[in-house]
Structures are given as C-alpha cells and as structure tokens.
C-alpha cells in the first residue's frame, strides 16, 4: 500500500459523499419532477371533470310546447333553456311508442342562451292519436325527454 493512509481515507469520504449527494440530488429532482408532473396532470383532470360535471348539472331544457302540424307531416317544438348556462342541442330523436319506429334528426345550429328558446321543426309522417317519445340531446351529452300524443 503506497497511498498515504490518512489522505486516502479523506479523499474517499469526500468523493463518496459527493457521489452520494449527487445521486440523491438527481434522484430527488427526478422524483420531485415526476411527482409534480403527475400532480399537475391530476389537477387538470380534476379541473376537467369538475367543469364538465358542473356544466352538465347546470344544463336544463324545458320542452315547452310540442304541436303537430295538421296540414302536413311536421312536428314543431319549442325548447326553453331554463338552466344557468348556454347549451347546444345536437340531436332530436322521436320514437313512435306504439310501433317503436324511430326518427332521428341532427342539428348543428342548436345553441340556446340561458332563458332563451329554440324552435325546431322536424318532418316525418306522424300518425294521429299516437303517443310519441321525444328525446333531446345536447353537446354535453345531457338528454331531456318528454312524451306527447298526436291529435
């Protein structure tokens, strides 16, 4: 052993400590960074979930009036946004309850402001004195349903 015993012990301790400290620091930074990233992502997910659900529960439609045009195969309906946020009607599905026949209609311009109304005209061959189920879907995937009987 031709190294000075005293000097070798001191250097080894410093190097080792540096190595250990560096390793711990790197690992710590990695762990903290990973944890932070994870938490931010969770925060964003939480934000999105809360926002979506918040909007969904505040979205309300009143199917205010439905009337069958007796001069033709047309059904008119007036929707009233009684919720606190604007919404967008995307589809209307009308089902003949007696025969289970379904008529689907999509809408791309179905926005309604709060307290606003939207009048829709759907064309299909309705049958007199027959119950129909009307299902309204919104962009937020809320669904509102009513039933009417044709005159």
């Amino acid at each position: 052993m031709f190294f000075d015993k005293k000097t070798r012990r001191g250097l080894s301790t410093i190097v080792t400590s540096a190595i250990l400290l560096s390793a711990v620091a790197v690992m710590g930074v990695i762990v903290v960074t990973w944890a932070n990233t994870n938490l931010v992502k969770h925060q964003q997910d939480l934000d999105s979930t809360v926002s979506t659900n918040y909007n969904k529960i505040n979205e309300k439609i009143l199917i205010e009036h439905v009337w069958f045009n007796q001069n033709g195969p047309v059904v008119n309906m007036t929707l009233n946004n009684i919720g606190t946020i604007g919404l967008n009607v995307t589809s209307v599905i009308i089902t003949n309850v007696t025969s289970s026949q379904t008529y689907s209609f999509t809408h791309t311009n179905g926005g309604i402001f709060p307290n606003g109304t939207l009048s829709l005209t759907e064309t299909f061959g309705w049958v007199t004195n027959t119950p129909y189920k009307i299902l309204i879907s919104t962009e937020r995937n809320n669904q509102f349903e009513t039933q009417v009987v044709s005159p």
Binding site: L39, D47, Y54, N58, E64
Partner: protein, 560 residues
C-alpha cells in the same frame, strides 16, 4: 463529520419541503375544486327544489271581446314569473299561438285579465287548450270548451194564459271531470210558436262557467193570443250536437179567466151579427129639448159574400117615449125612416128598404143611424129591441133605457167620430178602411150630453180587441178627461178605463176621448168591434139609476 451531517440534513429538508408543498398544494386545490362542485350541486339541487315548490293554477278562463280573459293564481310558496302563454285550438287546423308574458306573482297572489293584452284571438264556439309556462320551467294547462259534459235543465210553467207574461229558467251545469271552463256561455232558447220576448236572457251570458258550477238564465215571454201547446228548446252556443232539453206546456185560459173575460168582441168578428152601435141612455124626454138622441144599428159582415139588409129598427115597449124619428143613414132616397105606432103597447123607429135593400159588402160593416126626440112626461125604464132583417136571417138584440122628463135629466150619447174637432157632425159607428199594420192609429170616442147638466162624472170603458197592440192613452189627462188605466185581459184584449174630471157634465157639451193602437197586420179585410160602455157613478136618487149606460159598439174594418 459535523459538515457531512449538516449537508445531508439540508438536502433532505429541501426535498421534504418540496414534496410537502406539492402535496399540500394538490390536496388544497382538489379540495377547492370538490367544494366548488359541491356548491354547484347544491345550487342545482336548490333550483330543482324551488321548481318543485313553485305552483300555479289557472283558476278561470273566459272569453271577453274575442280574447282570452284568464285568472292565474300562485298557489305555491315562491314568487313566480309567467313567461309564456300557449293556445291550441283543438277544433281547427290553425297553428298554435303563443304570447310572451312578463307577469310576476307573489305567493297567494292572483293576476286577472291575462290574455286581454295579447294578440291571441278566441271564439266562444271553439275548444282551446291553454298552457302557461313559468320562468323556472313549470307548466299549468287549462281546457276551455263548450264541447264538454254539461247538464241542461229547463223550468217552465205548467200552463200559461194567452197574452200574459211568463218566465222560463234554464239551468246549465258544467259536469266536466277535468279543469274545464265553458267560456262566454251564451244560452239559447227556441220555441215552436212565435213568442214575444219581454226580457232576457238574464244574464245574457257569463264569461266562464267553471267545472262543477251551475248558471241560471231567465227569460220573460208573452204568451201568444191563440191558445195551444208551446214547446221550448234550451241549449247554449257551441253546445255539442244533440245537447239540448225540451219542455212542453200549454197556453190556454183557465176556466175562471175565460169566464171573466167572455166577450165576443175581444176577438175578430167571425159571423154576421147586429151591433148595438149606438144607444143613448139616460134620455131627457122633454119634447124638442137641446138635441136629439143618437141611435145606431150596426150589421157586421165578416163573410166572403154580401149581406142584404131589408129593414132595421128599434122597438120601444113604452109608446110614450118616442116622439120624432129623424133618419140619418141610409139617407134620403134609400128606403125610408119612419115612426110606427103599434098601439098602446109600443111604437117603433124603423127603416124599410122595400125593393132596394142596403147591401153590406163582404168583410165590411154597415150602419143604420137615426136621431129621436122624446115625449115622455114621466119616468120610464123601457126595453128597446134592435132588429134587422137580413139575407142571413133576422137579427135581434135588446137593451134597456131610462128616460124622464124632469128638467134636470141628462141625455147621453156615445159614438165615435172621424173629426175630433167637430164630433157631433161627424159621428159614426163604422170605422172603415183603416190600414192594417199601422202604428199609433188614433181613434176618437165621444160622449155627448144633449140634455140637462149631468151631476156626475162619466166613466168610459173601451174594449179593444186582442189583435190591436200597444194601446196608449192619447188624451192622457187633457180635454176634461183624467189619465186612463189600460188593462190587459187574459185573452189578450185590453180594456181602457177613463173618467171625466169634472164632477158635472154640462148639458149641450161633448168630450172626445182619444186613444191610439197599433192596428193588426191582415192579408184581407178583417172586422172588429170597439165595445164602449159608459158608467155614471153619481147618477143616483129617485128615477136615477147607476144601471143607466149609453152604449156604442162601433164596427172597425182593418184593410191590408
């Protein structure tokens, strides 16, 4: 060693702080997000609860001025804002109508006249469904329809007397089992005979008849003059087909009423007859006193053929009464008027046509008039018999007159005149060629005292046949007459009762009473008689009887 321990602690502390801060921040943020969401859920649920606590009722709907008149009540515990009214006409194919509303209602508050200021129109004969929408999204509906379950009841008298007023009541009940008003309920009433409506329906209509309610409507009619069955049909405007009720009753005089008003002259003449056209009574019997007594014998001919009159006259059972006979009609050259002494028992004033009888054309009245002077020197109550020999047979009628030669005895004539200004020169018992369907036709009835002053008022009774309507007192308190009372008899005829105002009717004067009436509408000539009786309420004492009465039965010919 001291340095190593310090560095490690610092590094560890840094990491600990970083980790702790991150975790705490995340947890805090999550808690806040969840709290916000919870608040949102609470708010949303609160809105749902409010929607559930909101309640409105359309308590009544009517139609006024062709618009809905609606009453809405806030029956919930929260203020309500009405935002829209929808109306669906269930009878037609017209588009549904809507109107925006902006009506705030506090709990328990009612709002009236909703719909009156909108552009939505309504008809009482149609069925409607009304829908009111609130801002929170609640809907209240109401049905307005005449086409609903109803019950109609009709209350009529069992029997009515001709030409008298009677009432009919119609009860209409809304029997609907759902909230349903009959809006603008207007009753209808039909009859199988022509009735004169005096009043009604009362009320004319009602804005709305709510479910379970009953409305009563009253009519007052005058029964027809002609007896017969009457059938009434009660319903309402817009009623479903077949929704009506019938009630039958009889229009006839009760036996008592018929007996009380028995007079052949209350209706149109139907057979040939002799009329006591003019009989003076009482008679002042001083020879050649102030004026002559006026007599008339009428022959009424309602037949479609002519009637020939060969002779007419008045037989006096007391031969001491008649002194002079002055023929007036027929005039000279047509037969001959004369006084004929019949011995101790009687004498007679008579007209005889010989070979040229008087022709009374179909549906007309003929009259024989003469004046007499009397020569009695004492009190007589004498039977007089009017006679006429016609182509339809011998006609006879009797009367009784009172006469006296006393200086204070009156001589009362009763007759009609064509000129009210000079009645004694235009006296007649034949009012002919009077146009039918004429309103307010004026008639002149004259009472003349051709004797001494008459210490009594004179009351006159004039029976106007039932076909004449709207009989009015034209004189009405003037010309020495009081205001007349006009009564309608059960058979529809009317009796005018009028009295002179002065307590003494001066000798040598006359008073003409005038009345008006709407003449009947006729398609061919129709004959009537104005039966006129005088009464002297104060004509009492020796030789003076309240039984004395001058009489005039004037023939009235109504032409189309």
């Amino acid at each position: 060693m001291r340095y190593r321990r310090g560095l490690s602690t610092v590094v560890g502390a840094v990491f600990f702080i970083i980790a702790t801060t991150t975790v705490v921040t995340y947890i805090t943020y999550s808690m806040n997000s969840i709290d916000n969401f919870s608040q949102s859920v609470i708010v949303s649920e609160s809105q749902n609860i409010d929607r559930g606590r909101e309640s409105i009722t359309i308590s009544q709907v009517g139609i006024v001025n062709n618009k809905f008149n609606m009453t809405v009540t806030n029956t919930g515990s929260l203020p309500v804002k009405l935002t829209r009214l929808w109306v669906t006409n269930q009878d037609g194919v017209t588009s549904d109508q809507k109107a925006d509303l902006n009506i705030q209602l506090n709990p328990g508050q009612q709002q009236y006249n909703i719909g009156q200021s909108t552009a939505i129109t309504a008809e009482s004969t149609a069925s409607y469904n009304l829908k009111v929408v609130t801002e929170r999204g609640n809907i209240s509906t109401f049905q307005v329809s005449p086409n609903t379950s109803t019950r109609i009841q009709l209350i009529t008298p069992g029997t009515v007397a001709p030409n008298t007023d009677f009432k009919i009541i119609s009860l209409i009940t809304n029997n609907s089992t759902t909230p349903n008003n009959i809006a603008n309920l207007t009753p209808t009433m039909l009859s199988n005979v022509t009735l004169t409506l005096v009043d009604g329906p009362n009320p004319a209509n009602i804005d709305a008849l709510p479910q379970g309610s009953t409305a009563a409507f009253t009519w007052t009619y005058t029964a027809p003059v002609t007896s017969g069955g009457i059938s009434m049909n009660a319903s309402y405007t817009g009623a479903p087909t077949g929704k009506f009720v019938l009630s039958n009753f009889t229009n006839q005089l009760s036996a008592e009423a018929a007996a009380a008003t028995q007079s052949q002259w209350s209706q149109a003449a139907s057979r040939v007859g002799i009329l006591i056209s003019g009989i003076p009574n009482p008679i002042h019997s001083l020879t050649n006193s102030l004026e002559y007594a006026k007599w008339g014998i009428g022959i009424i001919n309602p037949l479609d053929r002519d009637v020939e009159v060969y002779a007419a006259g008045v037989l006096f059972t007391n031969p001491n009464i008649l002194n002079t006979v002055v023929g007036v009609e027929p005039g000279s050259g047509i037969g001959l008027w004369s006084k004929r002494a019949l011995g101790a028992g009687a004498n007679m004033a008579v007209w005889e046509g010989g070979s040229t009888p008087v022709i009374i054309p179909a549906k007309s009245v003929g009259q024989f008039r003469f004046e007499t002077d009397f020569s009695s020197n004492t009190l007589y109550e004498s039977i007089v018999t009017m006679q006429a020999l016609t182509s339809e047979g011998k006609l006879t009628v009797q009367y009784v007159i009172s006469s006296d030669s006393a200086a204070n005895y009156p001589l009362i004539n009763a007759f009609y005149s064509t000129n009210a200004a000079s009645p004694t020169t235009s006296w007649t018992y034949n009012l002919n060629n009077i146009p039918g369907n004429t309103n307010d036709k004026l008639f002149n009835m004259t009472v003349q005292n051709a004797g001494a002053d008459f210490p009594s008022k004179i009351k006159v009774l004039i029976l106007v046949p039932s076909d004449f309507t709207d009989v009015q007192d034209y004189t009405a308190g003037s010309g020495g007459w009081g205001v007349a009372s006009i009564f309608t008899n059960p058979d529809g005829s009317r009796i005018i009762k009028v009295e002179t105002t002065a307590s003494t009717f001066l000798g040598g004067t006359s008073k003409t009473y005038q009345f008006t009436a709407d003449t009947p509408s006729v398609t061919s000539d129709k004959l009537y008689v104005f039966q006129t009786t005088t009464i002297y309420p104060s004509f009492t004492g020796t030789g003076q009887s309240e039984l004395a009465s001058a009489l005039s039965e004037a023939g009235v010919e109504i032409v189309p």
